[in-house]
Symmetry: C2
Subunit: 320 residues, 2 copies
C-alpha cells in the first residue's frame, strides 16, 4: 500500500458521490476540503456519516465551506457536481485550484471536461467515470450501496488519448489507499463511450418507461431496445475512432441482470424533479457522432423524449 501523497483535495459538490469519495480520502489520512450548499451548517457542526458495506464510519470533524472564497487552494479539485451545474464552474474553480493543481471531473457523459478546461486550461484536466451506487439520505449522511470503482484518465482538448501520466498515478494511488479501486484509462474518450454503453440505454429508458433495471431486463422488448441502443453507442464510439468489441454488449447485459434492482441516477433526478443530465449523456454523444457524419436515430429518439420529459417535469404543467 502507498503512503499518502501529501496532495490536498477540494470536493466541489458534497453529495452522494463527492461526499462519499471525499470521506474515503479523508479517512485514509488525506487533507480534504468540502464545498457544501444546503448541508453546510449541519456538516460544519456534525461532520459526515457514511454507511457502506465496507464498514460504516463517521467523520465528526470535516473542513466544510459555504463558499470557495473561504477554501484554501488545493492540488486536486474534484468536480462532483451534476453536469447541469457546470455553468457555475467559472465562479467555483479559479479560487480553489493551486497554480500547479489539477481538476478531476467526476461526471458522466461526453465532453463534460470542456467547461473546466475553458477555465483551468485543458492541460490541467483529468476526467473520471464513477461506477458507484450511493445515495444521500440526509444532511451529511451518505449511504453507499454498491460499487465504487473510478476509471480515471488525462483529458486532451483534441480528444486524443494521452496515456497514463505520473500525476494520474499519484492521484490514483491516493484513491487506492482510500479503498477505491482505480482503473487507469490511457484513453479517456474511450472510457467515456464505454460508460455510455450502460448509461444511454438504462438511464434514459428508466425515465421514459418508469422502470427499474430489473423490470427493463425482464421484458423482452425493453431488453431488445437496450441492446439496440448499445449497438448505436458502439457506432458513435466508432465514429470517434474508438472500437468497442461487440461482446461488450453481452457483458454489460449479464452484469445488469446480476445487479440488485436499481433506480438509475437519472430516474432519481427525475423523481426529485431535478434537471436531467441529458446534454452530457445524450446531446453531446449525438453531436460528436453527427460531426463525423453518423446518425444514431434510436438514441436521438430517446434524447428528444428526455428533453421533453425534463422540460415538463420542471414546469408546473405536468398533470400527473
Amino acid at each position: 500500500m502507498n503512503t499518502a501523497s501529501g496532495l490536498t483535495y477540494a470536493i466541489l459538490g458534497t453529495g452522494a458521490l463527492g461526499g462519499y469519495y471525499g470521506a474515503c480520502l479523508q479517512k485514509a489520512g488525506l487533507e480534504v476540503h468540502y464545498l457544501l450548499r444546503s448541508d453546510y451548517a449541519h456538516v460544519k457542526q456534525h461532520g459526515l456519516i457514511v454507511e457502506t458495506p465496507d464498514g460504516d464510519f463517521r467523520l465528526p470533524q470535516v473542513n466544510a465551506y459555504q463558499s470557495v472564497q473561504d477554501m484554501p487552494r488545493c492540488d486536486v479539485v474534484v468536480v462532483a457536481l451534476k453536469t447541469t451545474q457546470n455553468h457555475l464552474l467559472p465562479d467555483l474553480l479559479p479560487p480553489v485550484v493551486k497554480d500547479e493543481g489539477v481538476v478531476l471531473v467526476l461526471q458522466n457523459g461526453l465532453g463534460v471536461e470542456a467547461a473546466a478546461a475553458a477555465i483551468a486550461g485543458a492541460e490541467r484536466i483529468l476526467g473520471g467515470l464513477c461506477f458507484l451506487c450511493s445515495n444521500k439520505v440526509g444532511p451529511g449522511h451518505i449511504r453507499h450501496l454498491d460499487y465504487k470503482k473510478i476509471a480515471m484518465g488525462e483529458y486532451s482538448a483534441t480528444g486524443a488519448a494521452v496515456g497514463i501520466t505520473e500525476r494520474l498515478r499519484r492521484i490514483a494511488a491516493d484513491f487506492e489507499q482510500a479503498g477505491i479501486p482505480i482503473e487507469l484509462a490511457a484513453d479517456l474518450v474511450l472510457a467515456r463511450w464505454k460508460k455510455l454503453m450502460w448509461n444511454i440505454p438504462f438511464n434514459g429508458l428508466s425515465v421514459v418507461l418508469n422502470a427499474t433495471t430489473q423490470e427493463m431486463m425482464a421484458n423482452p422488448d425493453s431488453l431488445a431496445l437496450a441492446e439496440a441502443l448499445m449497438r448505436e453507442v458502439m457506432q458513435g464510439a466508432a465514429a470517434q475512432g474508438r472500437a468497442i468489441a461487440p461482446e461488450f454488449v453481452q457483458t454489460m447485459l449479464v452484469h445488469t441482470a446480476e445487479m440488485q434492482p436499481y433506480r438509475t441516477s437519472m430516474k432519481i433526478d427525475y423523481d426529485e424533479q431535478r434537471p436531467l443530465e441529458v446534454e452530457a449523456m445524450y446531446g453531446s454523444p449525438l453531436r460528436a457522432a453527427q460531426a463525423a457524419g453518423v446518425q444514431l436515430p434510436q438514441i436521438q429518439t430517446l434524447y428528444q423524449q428526455l428533453r421533453f420529459l425534463d422540460a415538463q417535469n420542471r414546469s408546473s404543467q405536468r398533470q400527473d
Copy 2:
C-alpha cells in the same frame, strides 16, 4: 341527396365509434343492428344518446343484441372493435354476414383486414379509416366532439389498389346521407399509410410522454421527433410502393396545431388500462417495411417502448 340504399347494417362494437356511426345511419332511416356487451341491458331498454355539434339526438328504440346468434344476417357488417379484439372475429362474423354481404373494417393500422378476410374472404372486405373524435361517456351515451369523415376503400389480399367499386359507392352514399363525409380511397393501403402519418407519432408519443397533442406541438423536441417519425412513415409507405408527398408532413402538423388539445385514443386506452393497439399501428407497418428491406429505427424505438408500457400497464407490477 340519395335515398336510403335498402342495405342493412350490423355494428360489431357499439362504443364511441361504432355507436356514433350506427346511430347516424339509423337516424338517416337505415336498418341498423347493434352488438353490445356491457351496455346491452341499458341500451335495450333506453336506446342510444348522441351528443354532437351537429345537434344532439336520442334513439329510444334500437335493435340491440347480446350475441351474434340472435342477430339477422346483414348486408354490411361494420367491424368497430379495437384491433386487439380481432381474435373474436371467427366467432362474431360468420353468423351475421349475408351470403352476398360485405365486411367494413373501421380500424386504424395496417393489415387489420386480414383477420376478417381469413373468415369472410378477401373479396368481401372493405376497409375504412375514421377521422373521428368521439367518447363514450356512459352506457349507450356517446359524446361526439369533432370530425367524422371516413376514408373508405376496397381491400385486396395482395395489397394492390382495387379502385372504386359500385358497392363501395353505394355504402358511401348511405353514410353521406347520414351526414358522414366519405373519402373514396382507390388505394386502401395508401389511405392507411396516410392515416399512420398522424397516428404513429401522436398516439405513441402521447403515451410515452404523458402528453396531449397541444403539449407535444408546443415543445420543440417532441415536435421535431413527431416530424422525424412522420418521415419514417413516409419511408415505410415508399417501401410498399406508396408515395406520400413531403409537404404532407407540414399539412398534418398545421392541422394538429389547429386542433383542440386532444388526448389521443391510445392515451385513453392506456389511462383506462385497456390493451393498446400496438401491433396494428406499429408492429404491422414495421414488419411491412422490413419485408421490403427498410428499417424504421425511430418507429421501432417507440414500438418497443409501447409494448413495454402496455405490458406493465396491464400487470399489477406498475408502481405509480
